[in-house]
Each structure stands twice: as structure tokens, then as C-alpha cells.
């Protein structure tokens, strides 16, 4: 039986050489096996757990706020948590709606040319445009998906040094774009 089998086996011409090569290869393999002996299983366990934890905490944040030198949030003892709404971020240098930069802020003021009616006006034109678009988007979503509801709420993320005048301008403009309820984001001092 074994003899028969052997007859069917393919024997290459450089058989001996190949065997030599194989031997050499297995030696190398053995050496690399010794190298791999460091047990990384526990490390893998830790990393996998961390990865799952981070992914989970990443997914549950409805709004993404990245504080920096330009955006220093005020502190608050409020216990309310953020919700998934349209967000208006007012930093020291810009106003951003839903992560899209809208206009430049300088020294806590918006340039008069960006407002309807000049310096004393409360209506910021580019911000209004962006907010109307955002509201429309939500309405379209509402028409298709009954679980989404447009309730006129927006989250205002504001640098703590922003003057009250700019805040009222932003709120007035948002009000014109059908956003009449606001959530002010702050760093929680509780817990």
C-alpha cells in the first residue's frame, strides 16, 4: 500500500535541495517561534476591553464638543444631559453650525457687514442661512422618519468670555429660523 502511494508521489528533480531549504526554513521558524513566546494575550484582552469601552462612550455622545483655547466652556451644576439637536458653537474666533464654519468672530463681535441693517442689528445673515438650512434638513427628516421630531431646540455651545450682546444676537437669529428653545452647554461640576 505504502509502496503504491510512493509511486504516485511527485518527486521533483532538485528534491534534495528542497529538503535542505525546508530544513533551513524550519530552523528559522523555530527561532521566530521563540521570539513570539512573549505572551500578548493579556495585553490583547486589556486592549479589546478598552476598545469596546471607548467605542461605546463615543457612540453615546449626542453632541461632539472639543474644548480648546478658542472654546473654553463655562461651568455649571446642572444635571441635564445633552440631546441630539442642531448645535451652534460660538468660539472666540468663529461661529459654527453643526460642525460647519459659518462666519468669523473678532473680539466677541460679528462684523457689521454680516448683519442685516448694520452694526446695531441683531440679525446675523450667514448664521440665519445655515440655521434655516439645518431646520429644513430636520423637517425633511421628520417627513420620512416619524421618530425624528423637529421641536425647535438647538444647543448653544459658547465660550465663557463671549459678551451678552453676541449671545442675544445668536439667539435672535436662531429665533428667526424657528429655533425658540435653547440648551446651553457647560462643563458639569457635578460628579
Amino acid at each position: 500500500m505504502t509502496e503504491e502511494k510512493r509511486t504516485y508521489e511527485y518527486i521533483p528533480e532538485n528534491y534534495e535541495q528542497e529538503i535542505l531549504m525546508k530544513k533551513k526554513g524550519s530552523k528559522e521558524k523555530e527561532r521566530s517561534n521563540e521570539m513570539q513566546d512573549i505572551n500578548i494575550n493579556s495585553l490583547m484582552d486589556i486592549l479589546t476591553i478598552m476598545l469596546v469601552f471607548l467605542l461605546k462612550s463615543y457612540a453615546t455622545d449626542p453632541i461632539n464638543i472639543v474644548p480648546g483655547p478658542d472654546l473654553d466652556l463655562a461651568k455649571s451644576s446642572s444635571l441635564l444631559t445633552p440631546a441630539a439637536t442642531v448645535s451652534i458653537t460660538v468660539s472666540k474666533s468663529a461661529i459654527v453650525v453643526d460642525n460647519q464654519p459659518v462666519l468669523v468672530v473678532k473680539d466677541g463681535k460679528v462684523e457689521a457687514s454680516q448683519k442685516r441693517g448694520g452694526e446695531d442689528s441683531y440679525f446675523i445673515i450667514p448664521l440665519s442661512k445655515a440655521l434655516v438650512e439645518a431646520a429644513e434638513k430636520k423637517r425633511r427628516l421628520e417627513a420620512v422618519n416619524p421618530t425624528v421630531k423637529f421641536d425647535g431646540v438647538c444647543t448653544i455651545v459658547m465660550d465663557k468670555e463671549t459678551p451678552y450682546r453676541l449671545l442675544t444676537e445668536v439667539m435672535y437669529t436662531a429665533g428667526q429660523a424657528e429655533f425658540s428653545n435653547y440648551k446651553f452647554a457647560a462643563i458639569s461640576t457635578v460628579g
Partner: protein
């Protein structure tokens, strides 16, 4: 013996390197994008313009007027209005209800410096008295001069939302309405 060793080497041959690479890239990425601080929000509304749903007949007695508790921030201090009347400061009838006091505050770089700060304790005292007289009322109107910084508005909102009485938290005026600035 030799066979056992070979089997274990086969077991170890699962190549973990790509998975490790992926995880090691993903973890710093997620860690940097993760916010370091917990975010809280405060619900705020704007004044509703339009006819009120309940017609209120004009009355002469001040007790029948709606409370309309208003806190106005100025450079000099805090002025409190209730029933459309200023709550006067006995020492300074023409000035704000609560003058700023000497204290410490953080400057732009986060250092503590001596400065005039809003007297929140006194404000809480006055607000608490008003709450005791009007337990059903929950609305407060906050307004400020145009140059008042946002952090002070937040401080006022925090101070007027609730206060600690002993160990318990006492609700004061949690419904904030921000009104247009005072000129």
C-alpha cells in the same frame, strides 16, 4: 513530546499582528476624540411674543400682578425686579439691588486675581425669600448689559436654579428666560 510542541506552535501561529495594529491605532484615536469633561446643559427659552392666553384684567394692587422675577446684570452689580418693581438696596436706593463685592476670579489664563465679583450669596438670599412668598412660581427672566460675559450669566442661572438647604436641594426658579440686553 515533539508532537505536542509542534501542536502548540501551530496554535500560536494565528497572526495577531494586524489585529494589534488596528487596535493600537484605534485606541489613541478614540482617546483623543473623547471629551475629557462631562457636558451638562441648561434649558433656556426666549420671551414669547403674542397675546397671552389668559386675559388678565388690570388691577391696582401690586399683589395681583404677575411676579415676573427679573435679574439684570450690570457692571456695578445685580438688580432684581419683582412685580415690575425694583427691589431696592437700602444703602443705595438708586444703585443696583446687590452691589459687586471684593473677591477672586479667574482671568483669561486661569490665574486667580482679585476682582469685584457678583455677590451670589446675597442674590440667593433674596431669591429664596421671593420663592417662599411665591412657591408656585418657577420662571425667571435674566438679562444683562451687552458687555457682560457669558460665564456670569451661567453663574446666575446656577445660583437661581436651586440652593442647598441643609442637606436637601431646594428648587428655586429653574425655568430660565433670557431677555434682550439692557442698553
Amino acid at each position: 513530546m515533539a508532537r505536542k510542541k509542534r501542536a502548540s506552535t501551530i496554535m500560536e501561529e494565528i497572526n495577531m499582528r494586524p489585529a494589534m495594529n488596528l487596535i493600537l491605532i484605534l485606541i489613541p484615536l478614540l482617546l483623543t476624540s473623547m471629551e475629557s469633561a462631562k457636558i451638562a446643559v441648561i434649558n433656556v427659552a426666549t420671551p414669547q411674543i403674542g397675546p397671552s392666553s389668559v386675559a388678565t384684567p388690570p388691577t391696582d394692587t401690586p399683589e395681583d400682578k404677575p411676579l415676573k422675577l427679573t435679574v439684570a446684570l450690570t457692571d456695578r452689580g445685580i438688580t432684581v425686579f419683582a412685580r415690575e418693581q425694583v427691589i431696592e438696596n437700602k444703602d443705595d436706593p438708586l444703585g443696583p439691588t446687590i452691589l459687586k463685592k471684593d473677591g477672586e476670579e479667574e482671568d483669561a489664563s486661569g490665574k486667580k486675581v482679585n476682582a469685584k465679583v457678583y455677590d451670589l450669596e446675597k442674590l440667593v438670599e433674596i431669591i429664596q425669600d421671593i420663592k417662599d412668598a411665591n412657591p408656585a412660581e418657577e420662571n425667571i427672566i435674566i438679562t444683562a448689559e451687552p458687555n457682560i460675559k457669558f460665564k456670569y450669566i451661567m453663574e446666575i442661572m446656577d445660583a437661581t436654579r436651586e440652593t442647598k438647604v441643609g442637606e436637601k436641594l431646594k428648587k428655586l426658579f429653574p425655568n430660565v428666560v433670557l431677555s434682550a440686553g439692557i442698553a
